[in-house]
């Protein structure tokens, strides 16, 4: 029976993990270490604006332990979706940190990077030949979506990792990747059942998150065989339960029974969970069906403008009692003030979103009113404009106008907004939108994901 044992040290590279428990995991014997570095939860700016999800210090701290640990056992270390988005800039950002650590620690190894920003011409050719397909709630796209995007990444499956390892890589840094693929790659390539390998990977990609309770995420060790996989948290006080593992199939996925991955779909209808010890759970019965056509998901971010914001608090009962009318009069006054400054242009080179915290900022609903006993609300005004200069100008006009806007009950100059910081107008820089929820057909699973090897 083939058995493999691997570690996911944490849920997100840079999120941290306990060094002592990591050392104990290493001492227990491992075949490889893998860690996810990606998330779309940070929004489109990570990809569009070349912004890492975690701090450099956080990522470097984790990578130092992982590199030293993996090299001490001479086992592969795989990092997926480098730098948050897995874009080329973010991948290079992580590579530079790895090379810096190698220099500081005197480590030598073969490093592979796998790029995931495909040639636009290739994507356009696929789009033109009808080989790009929308997923749920996908935005409309055309040729310009491909040419205008700041960055487009494709989400690789297991095959590019396997190619990099076969070419001799000790450490693999990948661009955008299916989170699960980086954990499934080695088990699948060693012939372990794909259903078990993918299902285990889907849980392992969050590190030690699938536990009953935790304060800080730590690691998880997976032992996978031909018949089952076992999950054991690295943190000695953390426990996996049948429900904590089962419920992880719900997290961030729309369908807990079928999960689509590059090249196939996990089917989890017949999964069985068994509490092996008070902290270890065994899983059986996970299935996997290869897809007829190999597809990978596309993610893209397009610049939509430059942003600025104002946040103020309002407590005056004379405003709160008739808040909606007051705010509507304020919106009209802000446009007038902005047009006076930058000139009236049609269409306006800016748009403004008002959010009323205490009313319906988080769950917007038509007709929402302030509760009659509301003692204060937060008013957030965000401006998106064609340039940072216009965004800042309009936000400044909004801050000043709303501050002194007429309150019908009072006669004289009022100051309506409590600002909690100075300056009270904040530039938010460039803003981006996600522009794809699509998959592209591939001729080969590795064609969009070139592997580059270098000796460090």
């Amino acid at each position: 029976m083939t058995t493999m044992r691997y570690l996911a040290p944490t849920g997100m590279l840079g999120g941290g993990f306990n060094a002592e428990y990591f050392a104990e995991a290493l001492a227990s014997g491992l075949d490889f270490i893998a860690c996810d570095s990606g998330s779309i939860d940070g929004g489109p700016a990570n990809l569009g604006g070349n912004i890492p999800f975690f701090s450099r210090d956080g990522v470097k701290r984790d990578l130092r332990l992982l590199l030293i640990g993996a090299r001490s056992l001479d086992i592969p270390l795989l990092i997926g979706s480098c730098g948050g988005s897995g874009g080329r800039w973010n991948l290079n950002w992580v590579r530079e940190i790895v090379e810096e650590i190698a220099g500081e620690e005197g480590l030598h190894f073969t490093l592979a990077t796998i790029d995931a920003e495909p040639d636009r011409a290739v994507l356009l050719e696929r789009f033109g030949s009808g080989r790009v397909h929308p997923l749920t709630n996908a935005p409309a796209i055309d040729k310009s979506t491909f040419t205008d995007a700041a960055h487009i990444v494709a989400m690789m499956g297991t095959e590019p990792y396997v190619e990099a390892l076969a070419a001799g890589a000790d450490v693999v840094l990948a661009g955008r990747s299916s989170d699960a693929a980086l954990f499934a790659a080695i088990p699948v390539s060693r012939g372990l059942p794909p259903g078990l390998a993918w299902h285990a990977a889907k849980i392992m990609e969050c590190g030690g998150s699938a536990v009953v309770q935790m304060d800080n995420v730590d690691g998880m060790i997976c032992t996978i065989t031909d018949e089952y996989f076992d999950l054991e948290p690295t943190h000695p006080e953390h426990r996996c339960s049948e429900v904590s593992i089962a419920s992880h199939s719900l997290y961030e996925t729309s369908n807990p029974f079928e999960m689509y991955e590059p090249g196939g779909v996990m089917r989890l209808q017949n999964v069985e969970f068994e509490q092996l010890t008070d902290r270890v759970v065994r899983v059986r019965g996970s299935e996997y069906t290869p897809a007829e056509t190999y597809t990978v998901k596309l993610e893209g971010a397009t610049l939509i403008g430059y942003r600025a914001m104002v946040l103020g608090g309002i407590t005056d009962p004379a405003i709160l009692d008739r808040f909606d009318e007051w705010l509507e009069s304020g919106k009209r006054a802000v446009i007038e003030a902005a047009d006076r400054t930058i000139g009236h242009l049609d269409p306006a080179p800016y748009s403004i979103v008002y959010r009323v915290y205490g009313r319906d900022a988080v769950i917007p609903r038509a007709g929402s009113r302030l509760p009659s006993d509301a003692s204060e609300v937060g008013l957030l005004v965000t401006v998106t404009a064609d340039s940072q200069k216009i965004a800042s100008t309009v936000a400044s006009q909004a801050a000043f106008t709303l501050l002194h806007l007429r309150v019908p009950e009072w006669h004289g100059l009022v100051s309506n907004l409590a600002y909690a910081f100075a300056p009270h107008v904040t530039d938010l820089g460039p803003g981006y939108s996600f522009v794809f929820n699509h998959v592209v057909e591939l001729d080969s699973p590795t064609e969009l994901f070139p592997v580059t090897l270098r000796e460090v």
Partner: protein, 114 residues
């Protein structure tokens, strides 16, 4: 009548990708799970009303291994767009927390609701 928060051990929402949201209601045991499922209260129309989407776009999954009811539906605004006010989608479940489930629930058994 009993509030959903009295029966569930976790009610949460989260992005499922950048264009979908998913809401999980998880129960500690089969009794609470069955009580709520059998009540028929958590249906597409409820989700449509609470989450501001079309009922036809709501998917509901009953996931017994975790005693969970799952709603998945399109995000009204994509994650991180200027009009989006919940980047991680983590605070969209509030309408469920104090929802009344008809019937009398006694832990470990079911009374009423049939």
């Amino acid at each position: 009548m009993v509030a959903l928060r009295e029966l569930a051990q976790l009610i949460r929402s989260k992005n499922a990708g950048m264009f979908e949201l998913t809401v999980d209601v998880m129960f500690p045991d089969a009794a609470a799970f069955d009580f709520v499922v059998d009540s028929g209260v958590l249906d597409r129309e409820l989700a449509a009303r609470l989450f501001g989407v079309d009922a036809a776009d709501v998917q509901i999954f009953l996931y017994r291994p975790a005693y969970a009811i799952k709603f998945s539906f399109p995000r009204p605004v994509a994650c991180g767009d200027p009009a989006d006010s919940d980047l991680f989608g983590g605070q969209q479940f509030a309408g469920l927390v104090n929802l009344d489930i008809p019937g009398d629930f006694v832990a470990g058994s079911r009374v009423g609701a049939h």
